[in-house]
Symmetry: C2
Subunit: 334 residues, 2 copies
C-alpha cells in the first residue's frame, strides 16, 4: 500500500508530517510513503526523525507551497511545482492509493477535483468528517464543499457516506439521516423534501429525517445535508462547546468550594474535551474522488498525522472508492 503525503501541508509541516510518517513506518510494515516538497529539507527532517535510511520512503521534489491565503483555483493552475499539485498528480497517475494533506481545504478540494477527478457518475465530491457523540460517532456529509446542492447530490452523499462508514469505521449497515427542520416526511425545505423522496428509493439504510437535536444523539451513522448547513452544524458544535466551557469555568471558579470540586474533577473535564475532539478520527475524507483523499486538520501534530495515515490505510483496505463507484453505478442504472 502506497500513501502520498503533501509534506508541506499544515501549520506544523514539514516536521509534524514527517514525525507522523515515522510513527506510521514503525506501526505498519506493509505501508510505503511518497513525500512531496523541498527535497533537501525533507531529507534533513527524515534524518532528525531517524528514518533517513528507510527504503519505504520516497521523496518527490516540489519547489513551492500553496498557502491558505491563495485563491484555490488560481493557485492549483499556476503552481504546478507545488507539493500539493505534485502529490495530486501522483494520485492521478495511480502511483499511490491514498493522498493526505493538511494544507488549504479549498486548494485540496479544487485540486483533487481538477487533477484526480471524480468517480464516474459522481455529481459533486463532498467533505465528510467523522464526529464524536456521547455514543457512536457519525459522519457528516457535506461539510462545506458544496454550499448549494440539488436533491440528487444529497442522494449521492448518502451512498458515499455509507460506503465510508462501512469500509473505514466497520459499521455494517450505516443508519442514514437527512438533516431537516421537522421529523415528519412532509416537513422541510424544498431541497430536503425532494431529497427525502429520493432517499426512500435508494439502496441505503435510510432512517428518515434527522432534526437538529438528533444530530449528536448517536442515532445516525451518516448525517446527510448540503454543504452550507453541514458547515454551520460542524462549526456551531465547536463554538457552542467553547461557550459552554467558558460558562462552566466561570461558575466552577465562583467560590472556594466549587473551585475544590473543579480541581478534583479536572481529569474528567479533560476526557470530555478529548472525547469531543474530532481530530481523533484523523482528517476529513473528500468522498467521490477517484482515489482516497484525506484532508488532515491544518493544526495537525505528529499524532494527528498518524491518525490520518491510519485512516488512509483503512480507506484503502476497506475499498471505499470501489464501494462508492458501485453504489453510484447502481443509481445511475435505475
Amino acid at each position: 500500500m502506497k500513501i502520498v503525503i503533501d509534506a508541506y501541508g499544515g501549520d506544523n509541516a514539514p516536521r509534524a508530517v514527517i514525525e507522523g510518517t515515522a510513527l506510521a513506518l514503525n506501526e505498519w510494515n506493509d505501508m510505503e510513503f511518497i513525500l512531496t516538497g523541498r527535497e533537501a529539507e525533507i531529507r534533513a527532517e527524515l534524518e532528525r526523525a531517524g528514518i533517513a535510511d528507510s527504503d519505504r520512503i520516497e521523496i518527490v521534489n516540489a519547489d513551492s507551497v500553496i498557502t491558505c491565503e491563495e485563491q484555490p483555483t488560481v493557485a492549483i493552475k499556476q503552481k504546478k511545482d507545488s507539493s500539493l499539485v505534485i502529490a495530486l498528480n501522483i494520485m492521478a497517475e495511480k502511483k499511490a492509493d491514498c493522498f493526505i494533506s493538511g494544507g488549504s481545504t479549498g486548494a485540496v478540494l479544487t485540486g483533487a477535483t481538477l487533477i484526480v477527478r471524480r468517480i464516474p457518475g459522481v455529481k459533486r465530491p463532498a467533505l465528510a468528517p467523522v464526529i464524536p457523540t456521547a455514543d457512536a460517532p457519525f459522519l457528516l456529509i457535506d461539510c462545506g464543499a458544496n454550499a448549494d446542492c440539488k436533491p440528487e447530490y444529497l442522494q449521492q452523499f448518502a451512498i458515499m457516506g455509507s460506503a465510508y462508514m462501512q469500509g473505514v469505521m466497520g459499521v455494517e449497515s450505516p443508519r442514514v439521516g437527512l438533516v431537516n427542520n421537522g421529523a415528519e416526511e412532509s416537513k422541510g425545505s424544498e431541497l430536503a423534501k425532494a431529497a427525502h423522496a429520493l432517499l426512500k428509493e435508494t439502496n441505503v439504510n435510510f432512517k428518515g429525517n434527522c432534526e437538529g437535536r438528533d444530530i449528536f444523539s448517536g442515532d445516525f451513522d451518516v448525517v446527510v445535508t448540503d454543504g452550507f448547513t453541514g458547515n454551520i452544524i460542524l462549526k456551531e458544535a465547536e463554538g457552542f462547546s467553547s461557550a459552554l466551557f467558558k460558562i462552566m469555568k466561570r461558575e466552577l471558579t465562583s467560590s472556594f468550594i466549587t473551585k475544590i470540586g473543579a480541581a478534583i474533577a479536572k481529569p474528567a473535564f479533560k476526557s470530555v474535551k478529548k472525547i469531543m475532539d474530532y481530530k481523533e478520527y484523523g482528517g476529513a475524507p473528500l468522498l467521490g474522488i477517484n482515489g482516497g483523499i484525506i484532508k488532515a486538520h491544518g493544526s495537525s501534530d505528529s499524532k494527528a498525522f498518524l491518525s490520518a495515515i491510519r485512516q488512509a490505510r483503512k480507506y484503502v483496505l476497506g475499498g471505499v472508492t470501489e464501494k462508492i463507484a458501485s453504489g453510484i453505478a447502481q443509481i445511475e442504472a435505475q
Copy 2:
C-alpha cells in the same frame, strides 16, 4: 396595557397560564389581561389562584382547543370557537396590545398571519427566540417559520430583529450577523451572498458574516438566517448540550474521586444549565405581524408564563411593531 392570553395553550394550561397571570397581576398594576378558553374552568382556576375578584382580568369564552397534532391551516379555518382563534380575533380587532400562547407553534404562525395579518410591506413573519451565550444573549431569526427564503426576506429579518433587540432587550445599536459558511464576503450559498449584498445597503448595524463558530460568541445581537438553518442551529444547541452533559456525567462518575468533585461542583453545573436555558427569556416572538405575538414554550410553567408576560410588556412599551413598520417602510421607499 392589555394582553390577551390563550389560556388553553401549552402542556400545563390552563393552570400554569393562570398562575403566571396571577404573578403578573401582582408585579405590575398597569396591566390588564383577557383570557380565552372555557369560562367555567378558567373561573375555577382564578379562584384557586386567589385572583377571582380582580377587575383587571376579563374572560372571553372559547369552547374548543387546537392541539399540536392538528394540521394548522385546517384547524385555524375550522375551529372558530377555539381559544387560539378567539384570542387572535381580539388582536385583529385591536382590543389588546399583545398576544401570548403556549399552544401549537404551527397554529400560532398560521393563525397570526391569517387573522392578525402582517405589517404592511412585510414579506414573511419570522420566529425569533432570544438565546443565551456566555456573554450577551442574541436573537436568532428566522427559527423555523420559513424553511425556504429569498434574500429580501433575510434583509427584512435583520430589520425586524434589530427592532426587537432595541425595544425589548434595550440594545442601542444591535450588531447584525448573517449566518454563512465562511467569513469572507465572497463566500457562501447563493442566498447568503445575495442577502449579504442587500444587508450592506440596509439601515442596520451589519457586521458581516457569522460563521457557525461565531453564533454563540456573543459578538452578535441579531443572527439572521433562513428558517431551515435557524431551526437546525437552535435544536443542535439543545441536542449538543445534552450529549455533552451525558459524557460529562459519565466521566464525572467514573471514579470515587471524580464523584466527590462532581458532588461539590454540582451547584455550578445547575447554574450552567440555567444560564443556557432559553426559556428564561420568555417565549419566541413572531415578528412582522401587526401586533405583538409571543409564542411561549409548550412546556411553560407559571414562571415561564410570567417571563412571557414580562416580554409582552416590554414589546408594547418598546414600540416594537411601530419600529418594524417604520424600518420596513424605509426599505420599501428605496
